[in-house]
Amino acid sequence: MKQHDTSAGAPVRLRDVAVRYPGADRDAVAGVDLDIPGGALVVLLGPSGCGKSTLLRTVNRLVVPYRGTIEVDGHDVTASDPQALRRGIGYVIQAVGLFPHLTVAQNVAIVPQLLSWTPEAIAARVDELLDLVRLEPARYRNRLPRDLSGGEQQRVGVARALAARPRVLLMDEPFGAVDAIVRTSLQDETLRLHRALGTTILFVTHDVDEALRLADRIVVMKDGRIEQDGTPLHVLAKPATTYVETLLDAKDAVRRLSLLCARDAMRNAARPVDGAPQVAASETLRAALSRLLEGADAVAVVDEGRVIGSLSFAEIRAALVANER
């Protein structure tokens, strides 16, 4: 990864933010406080109409709250010029919103162009971004959005959002319109980009599995308020309200296992596990359990080709119990 792509993410701070749409009889967002440290990947989760998208859109001032303050990197967003603010914040939406009359390269170049970069700098950046989202520049540069698959379109959408190296990226149900397999691969890409770039990401979704997969931290919303705010494991293990419990299906032990890592639950390689099925140390306990159920007493945990520990039903249960405390 090149050096300029590692600029750390900016913190985002919301204080008592309230939004009401004209003609509505209640607040769409009803006094929300949220502190997002730089570089975090925070998922706003909830059903449609819970205010999660509205809250997201206050950060780049597409929605203006009637009360409260929003700070990005310590600067009050209502005090800055909205166009300048938005050019510094990446924005990806569900419908992708690629401009159909512009080529892939022209779409990706929008923000650098608004910022008056030189044509050479823009061309170089476009190629770099297409590489970043794994679209071969020579093949994709001059194509029109209509000639791309849904997954490819959304990759271009992400490239466009990252063009001017924003320190905050807003993603509003970005993968809602693509099929499950493509969605999973786009989620992987998002995690990879997040690790590589360190950008602060605010991600809105109503898909619980997506939230659990991506989030450092999940913010569960209902009726414009935060119901619970915590790590995926914490929210699953200790749902604050029955609403959260129902929404996340928190009692589902298998779902929780998919958030626990084999490395953290294993017993160190005390006993021999010759011939046992293997899981990678970075895999989830859910994967380990599934291998156990295929018919084994224990699985070997492997890291870089070396067996470093073992897992049996006992360790998996112990991990679940420990997680509940």
Partner: protein
């Protein structure tokens, strides 16, 4: 046929006059319709009022409109042009508005979210996206004006209508027929050409 052979220069002259009337009226109408349409699209309430006003003009029978304009602007090209522009405006403005309102919200949202000003959003996203619909309006206006311009001869503004009018008044059906036929051909040709152009620029 013999009329065509005997008067080729008159036919050419009247056709040129006709095309000139239509083109001048179109250029003026487009120049007014684009900003007006953008305004109407962005200001719903006042916009509906404006559109209503244009609609009233549109419903006045064309001959009656010409008759109403003569006391104000006299006999001649000016009166004919004002009538033609008035009719074209309705069609053009309505299509500019429909085109802009037809742009998907996601595109406007993305444009604003990326940091475009409302002017940049208009010129870089809304107008390019609305172009096929706006061009559709221009096509409709063109063929309407080609038909309407035959009435220009009533106020002595020339055009193919002169052939038709003279032909009818002097029992010279060939002359009237040639005038109408050329107007019809002009309309068909313009329609085909503009349709092809529309197809070319439509990218969705």
């Amino acid at each position: 046929m013999s009329f065509v052979l005997r008067h080729p220069s008159e036919i050419a002259w009247r056709t040129a006059e006709h095309v000139e009337l239509v083109l001048i009226a179109l250029v003026i109408a487009c120049a007014i319709a684009l900003p007006l349409g953008i305004y109407v699209a962005r200001h719903r309430r006042l916009g509906d009022l404006l559109l209503g006003g244009l609609n009233v003009i549109y419903t006045i029978p064309s001959l009656a409109l010409l008759a109403l304009l003569v006391p104000l602007f006299g006999i001649g090209t000016t009166t004919a042009l004002i009538a033609l522009v008035a009719y074209a405006l309705m069609i053009l403005v309505r299509n500019v508005v429909a085109g802009i309102h037809g742009v998907p919200f996601a595109l406007v949202d993305a444009a604003r979210g990326l940091g475009m000003s409302s002017r940049q959003t208009l010129w870089r996203v809304e107008i390019p996206q609305a172009l096929p619909v706006m061009l559709g309006g221009a096509r409709l206006a063109t063929i309407t004006l080609i038909a309407l311009a035959t009435l220009a001869s009533w106020v002595n503004a020339g055009g193919l209508g002169t052939l038709v009018l003279y032909g009818l008044q002097h029992d010279d059906p060939a002359r009237a027929l040639v005038g109408s036929a050329i107007a019809a051909l002009l309309a068909i040709f313009s329609d085909t050409f503009l349709r092809a152009l529309e197809r070319r620029i439509t990218v969705r």
